[in-house]
Symmetry: C3
Subunit: 420 residues, 3 copies
């Protein structure tokens, strides 16, 4: 394969997987929108559409450069240059200057293909935060936080790792983002929920939990299927090369391991749900599958597939136990995003050491540093937002539902929520 | 890269993007079906499934040849040969005649891969018309028009441009169909609505608008996400080559620019909706995103990404303003398809001149010629259909809902519409 | 194209198509979940999620090896080796041993890419059985059967054909599984329904049919669109090579023929539904489209596209007639899975002989042998399951709905089914 053919395949692969990862935003939207009470389901759609669009713009204007441009080897952050774009050599090549080909090909892949793939990852991080905060966060406050997340918090963490910064120099391994993407999202969500607080009535005075029923179970299931499918692309695309047989084999192992880990997570969580909840629980299986996929994301190219099953299964179990733990701690995470992404993400980052080979100390250091920073920076951001504009809807809006307040009822022919 | 490898990649790329564009038909169906009142939602599904199937058959039997086969350089129409298919050289190659390889490879891509990609574009055009006419058009009349559209109206326009006809010879540029696909669909929808008329009660005697609530907002959102995803494939696949580094870079810019334009359209429309409608409007963002994607379709390979943001943002704004304008004109476009596809499509065709380089006079001429023809031919077709078989359901059917009349209730357990 | 480039493209193609086929599981879930009464819709989701996860694990642990590993030429079954995985040469290559490249490339495609593609096929077989048994089968009994199906019944049939066994040696042709996948699923579903029985009240004492309305028609439509899209990948990926111009042409013909056959099936079934049912029936078109796609699956690379239209159209007609036939026979197939997959699958397997070239005797023998085995083995399995643990929910559970019993209401805010 010539270097140019390799460049073409690398780029094409990244674009196709990236397009499927973009589709995960739809999955997270359906999952969250179907999980809430119908009086808030339309606003969930608005939040997620807004978060996706905001992420795209902000990550283009400032985020990508903060993450990847001019990160010193071992450094802490990229450059605050505005507007990422095709390289000079790429523009020359498109302008007809064939001599630029060598310089273009030398980059391995086209600049904007990489931008797309990285951007849709930030979209996933935003979806995690959205899921936790459902039914009580102010739309504008949420979108402002997403802008900060996409412009600074996520790019900082990314620059340490995938951008070639200090954690990368120490040998921290996280192929597809168990920590970089999922734990970061989970920590941000945890910080957010501490500031925003629980939904009114979620915890009774005696400490017991008042479950709110999902308004549309098949929609939640559809969302989970979309997310599962997107994860195959998420993990596959993270192996950014497609230049020879070794790459093709690695890619195949990644997709197969991800499939197995997701299935194992779903099965393990369902089996546990029989014991913990006393019933075969659909949501346990859906979240468990996501937990399994998050857990395998750090090392989806693990050589032994049976380990993928084990890592995914444990991810699913952690996800279900995490939901229980949060309820004990009176932390209200509507869709279970924190257990699925933070809990399983931490486990997956450690699990790299099992068979893929990673230094447990470095992995733990990375988890702690990224966790500390993502949680701390998010907490500061949320406190500032709360101070400046408030982050929580009014009690009336919460009782009536955000849809009524924003004037977009989800199923206007079916239910009226005026006085609940 | 050998010519044969290039042929393989060109074809494979076209098939994958084409498969994702086919998926847009599901998106338009969900968007339209979720937007109407539930008494008509099932018939919307039937209309769209029927339009997709009709398009596939008709474009195979006659449409593709009318658009691409034997168009004279600078000509006005292709050949009315029946049945498109694999070329003779392709059939020889599959039959084991290795000597045919050179002739096959010389075509650049496999014949039926191109057929697929072009066919799913016609499916999009059909969806546009469907969206505008929701809740009052006769199913059979609609499908007959779609057959005429796929057999003749769209192929004629296509032959002038992508088929190598007179507009192409003048240098008209429209890479992924802002005018060829979207404006054509919008003009056809406009002609249709003038003949079919508004839904009863849509405009009150005093001229004010009676909004009909969508029956399922998350379904509309899902549909919009599907359409957004499909647009990435729509624009990417329109750059039909994948034969070297320049193609890979162009493809990356196209997908990135499309993503940015869609996001900008959504953001701009939402910001405007706060001002125009007094609220943050989900439908403005969904339609605005589509408007942005339509606007960028004419030149998604534009070199400066910031222009993509601007073009998309303006597309989103035009979409929202267009909805308002149509209401003033008492034109009832149920899902806002005309503003999103015609309004933003015209803008995008002009915007080619900004940074991509296009002759404003030629672009304007193309817009006028295609608009005049698509509108005129569609108007004639609809008048003929109305004369021959009527194009509008009975007053009773409209009051009861088309679902009841056709015997397929959308949510039979939830609502009865018998006497509304 | 070098052998290594061919290996890369073969593998990449298989992974992408396989990812889209995995997505069909979501489609079948939505189709089935939307088709039942809402009191059972959540359990349908659980059943399908469980079937997908079970299939992935079981086909990894034992199924794939039973189907493909060490099948004697002309043999009857593979090896009961546990755990499939990357080959030794692949592991050596990933470990840095460049000398292993030749052995890896010699396999044509990466091992786990093939595993993924085959596994998602078994997922489709499981979905077929699920669809037929909706609303009365015990969840655990169903999942146990799926495990047996994925571990033994499907792999046996597969080893005779795609695994290189005795039917393959005789020249049996079934490129994408009209018989291997779809008829096998249909026979298994038929055996299952004979043991499990009809839903209570489905057939009135006078023999007439009491139709149960679907709870969500647009969801059914979405599911069908997903399945249609997945079928393009299903049939395309079955042409496992992408190594030159001939492959690219064949792939294009496959995708185009599949599109045409699906469209023809939908159109033919709708036209027939006007005559048979007295109305234009949406479900006829959705099932007819699936029937057309199933029918073309045996020979989607048929050279004459018009035959694809005819084969698909007849598939659609058979699907609708089959639904009628089953009702006459008092066999309760909730979503029409048996006609769509078994009826159209048998027809498609015979239709191979028309233009693609196949020996009618061998095709008929294959259909009979696979049918006899799949039906017989499934019947035994279901009888054993029924004996050991029962296969049918209680009368109370059936009346109240499985959702209430399992504690996951589909639309808890909208309907209560307690006393129906």
């Amino acid at each position: 394969m010539t270097p140019e053919t390799a460049f073409v395949l690398n780029t094409f692969s990244l674009l196709l997987w990236g397009t499927l990862v973009m589709w995960m935003c739809a999955g997270f939207t359906m999952l969250e929108s179907g999980s809430v009470r119908s009086k808030n389901a339309s606003v969930i759609c608005m939040k997620n559409v807004g978060a996706y669009a905001t992420t795209a713009i902000v990550f283009y204007v400032v985020g990508y450069n903060m993450m990847y441009s001019g990160v010193d080897p071992g450094g802490w952050i990229g450059s605050p240059i505005l507007l990422y774009g095709a390289t000079g050599a790429e523009r020359a090549l498109l302008g007809g200057d064939g001599a630029a080909t060598a310089a273009v090909v030398d980059n391995g892949r086209a600049a904007m293909a990489d931008w797309l793939f990285q951007m849709v990852f930030v979209g996933s991080v935003a979806s995690i935060v959205s899921g936790t905060l459902a039914e009580r966060v102010k739309l504008h406050s949420f979108l402002l936080f997403i802008a900060i997340l996409a412009a600074f918090i996520y790019p900082a963490v990314g620059s340490w790792t995938w951008g070639g910064g200090w954690l990368s120099a120490m040998g921290f391994r996280d192929l597809a983002g168990s920590t970089v993407v999922h734990s970061t999202g989970g920590w941000a969500a945890l910080a957010a929920v501490l500031v925003v607080g629980s939904r009114r009535g979620k915890f009774r005075p005696d400490g017991s939990v008042r479950q709110t029923p999902p308004n549309n179970v098949p929609m939640v299931t559809l969302g989970a299927f979309i997310v599962w499918m997107g994860f195959l692309a998420f993990n596959a695309g993270s192996h950014t090369g497609l230049t020879g047989a070794a790459d093709a084999v690695a890619l195949s192992n990644i997709v197969a391991n991800s499939t197995l880990a997701g299935a194992a997570g779903a099965v393990a969580a369902v089996c546990l749900s029989r014991w913990v909840l006393g019933r075969v629980d659909l949501f346990a299986s859906l979240n468990g599958g996501i937990g399994g996929l998050v857990a395998i994301a750090a090392a989806p190219d693990i050589p032994t597939h049976l380990w993928a099953v084990a890592i995914g299964g444990i991810g699913g179990v952690l996800c279900l136990l995490g939901i229980r733990l949060l309820e004990r701690l009176k932390i209200d995470d509507e869709v279970g995003a924190i257990p699925a992404h933070l809990g399983a993400g931490l486990w997956g980052t450690l699990a790299v050491c099992i068979d893929g080979g990673g230094d447990p100390f470095v992995q733990a250091l990375g988890m702690a540093a990224i966790g500390g920073f993502a949680f701390g920076a998010s907490l500061l951001a949320w406190l500032a937002i709360d101070f400046a504009m408030g982050c929580r809807i009014s009690e009336t809006a919460e009782r009536l539902g955000q849809d009524a307040v924003l004037g977009i009822e989800t199923f206007p022919e079916f239910l009226r929520h005026e006085d609940e």
